[in-house]
């Protein structure tokens, strides 16, 4: 495996406490599905993109995805922003706001607690973390042992090298006004583009799926979000294994749907109803076991328009200078 550890001379951040699962990632690994490699990347790309943007980074700059419990010590002067789940953030013990950038100097200790709303938070620094790309991406996929620091989640003692950052005392911090921030609740409406084997499910079965609430199961992970609710039965036992796209809804023999997420397997043999709109998968990733979702079918044209509008909206919002 390609070594991805930065040279020791490169200053950056020291991991004092890694938390249960902190991953180094960029927007994901594309173009390698034919080798069996998945995309990885941020479970909530909207929050990820904002963290980078508030640090004036390229949107694909390497940042961290944490589910809390992370403590870092800085050896550099930079700026840092945390976006995503509502998680207590302190710098040198002082409470700091999410969704804005903060000045960081050598010796500063950054601490993330555990989320009160939502699950994942993204920590970006100006210039991004400097991590060697593997197959065109720094995204860590633990299951594949690829990306990040030698394919692993962060461990205590890891050192995270940083890109260069030019600053002076006047370098401005940015914040995203409250009204533009996503709200993370306990429910989500997931829009679905029906497709794949949808016609292998009777109209009754499809209606059952689209008219019932499903609960997020504790078996969910970065590969798939497992649901619990009314059983859905296709007219077929299984299909020849075929390519799985992001958000595909597969129905295994127990009738409980699984939504395939960032670290999904690239092929599989369960019948699928269609795929959840990528924009809504970020909302899904912020739900906890026991939270609920329901589904709304949309056309592929609707999906196309929604995604174009969301992109335009993201680009048009200007963060405020603090």
């Amino acid at each position: 495996m390609t070594s991805a550890v930065g040279s020791p001379s490169k200053a950056g951040f020291l991991v004092k406490q890694p938390g249960p699962r902190t991953l180094i990632l960029d927007l994901g690994r594309y173009g390698y599905h034919h080798l069996g490699m998945t995309t990885g990347g941020p479970a909530d790309p909207v929050a990820f993109r904002w963290a980078n943007r508030l640090c004036k980074n390229d949107q694909n700059a390497t940042a961290l995805e944490a589910v809390g419990g992370l403590v870092l010590e800085s050896a550099v002067t930079t700026q840092l922003a945390v976006c995503g789940a509502n998680t207590p953030l302190t710098i040198n013990g002082r409470v700091r706001a999410l969704w804005r950038s903060h000045r960081i100097k050598p010796g500063d200790v950054v601490e993330l607690g555990f989320a009160t709303e939502g699950v994942c938070t993204y920590l970006a620094i100006s210039g991004g973390f400097e991590i060697t790309q593997v197959f065109g991406s720094t995204a860590t996929v633990v299951r594949e042992g690829i990306g990040g620091l030698n394919g692993n989640k962060l461990e205590a003692g890891d050192s995270l090298p940083c890109g260069s950052y030019e600053s002076n005392e006047d370098t401005q911090c940015l914040k995203l006004p409250k009204g533009y921030r996503p709200v993370y609740g306990r429910h989500a409406m997931l829009r679905v583009v029906p497709g794949y084997q949808q016609h292998d499910f009777s109209r009754y079965q499809q209606r059952r799926f689209f008219s019932n609430k499903y609960k997020i199961s504790s078996r969910s992970d970065r590969m798939g979000c497992c649901l619990e609710g009314p059983e859905i039965r296709p007219n077929t036992d299984g299909i020849l294994s075929e390519g799985i796209c992001f958000g595909a809804i597969q129905v295994p023999p127990d009738g409980q749907p699984i939504i395939l997420m960032n670290d999904r397997q690239t092929i599989g043999g369960y019948p699928k109803l269609g795929s959840v709109l990528s924009l809504d998968l970020g909302q899904l990733a912020q739900l906890k076991p026991g939270d609920t979702v329901y589904f709304d079918p949309i056309t592929v044209d609707d999906a196309h328009n929604i995604l174009h509008l969301a992109d335009s909206y993201f680009k048009k919002i200007e963060p405020l200078v603090c």
């Binding site: 069996g36 690829i146 583009v193 794949y196 795929s275």
Partner: protein, 233 residues
């Protein structure tokens, strides 16, 4: 050929009407060759708008960039590009030979598989290595190539309890499929030997010795050769 929507930015092309796994070997090989043809044609003509491609047994998932194209542009283009695929000369793919050290030492399920099949160990090895296999799909893990089909006599269901750790290079059988584990991973296939050749190496080009549409034949090697080729026991 049938092109179906898979998601907001994905289409899936089916090259066979058969949807279950009970397809004859001959048909499977023909369909698999078509999938590979389609990968070449689509990559060559639409490369600029593609995000990813997933070839599999009888289908090809095409993921495209919705900021560069849309369903109404790409679907007719694909239809047009693939209209003549039935008439295109079938490339047979490359024939790749993979060495295997078959033994009880390197294949913990070899003896049990032979017992259950009512065959000697030598017969199991002969049946496994004499067949030319088609690379139908790559997935499950990076570099994991599904090869088919093994002789009915040595077909064996997956283990009831998968192993926590299967070594890199382990050669396994599951039903009528066979594969070489590209890296250490959990796995439920019946292990009959070890292949010293790396099936997935990010530091080499190409990363994998095989691609979908190629053919594979196994060659039986002894312990010494296995070790001299870099194999580890």
């Amino acid at each position: 050929m049938n092109i179906t929507v898979a998601g907001e930015n994905s289409l899936i092309i089916y090259f066979s009407q058969e949807v279950d796994s009970e397809v004859s070997t001959e048909l499977s090989i023909e369909v698999s060759a078509k999938v590979q043809q389609a990968v070449d044609i689509i990559t060559g003509s639409l490369g600029g708008v593609l995000v990813d491609l997933v070839p599999s047994y009888a289908s090809l998932l095409v993921i495209y960039d919705i900021f560069l194209t849309d369903l109404h542009s790409i679907r007719p283009k694909i239809r047009e590009l693939l209209a003549d695929i039935d008439r295109v000369d079938k490339s047979e793919g490359q024939l790749i030979e993979l060495p295997v050290y078959y033994s009880a030492e390197s294949g913990p399920d070899l003896m049990l598989l032979a017992d259950k099949a009512g065959l000697s160990i030598e017969e199991v090895i002969d049946l496994h290595r004499s067949q030319e296999y088609q690379v139908y799909a790559i997935g499950f893990a990076p570099g994991f190539a599904y090869l088919g089909e093994v002789d009915e006599r040595i077909a064996a269901p997956r283990l009831a309890t998968p192993r926590q750790q299967v070594p890199r290079g382990a050669v396994g059988i599951a039903d009528r499929q066979t594969a070489v584990y590209p890296s250490v991973s959990p796995g439920g296939w019946n292990l009959i030997g070890l292949c010293p050749q790396r099936m997935f190496d990010p530091d080499t080009t190409p990363t994998m010795p095989v691609k979908v549409g190629d053919r594979v034949q196994f060659k039986s090697i002894g312990r010494e050769t296995f070790l001299s080729l870099g194999g580890e026991l």
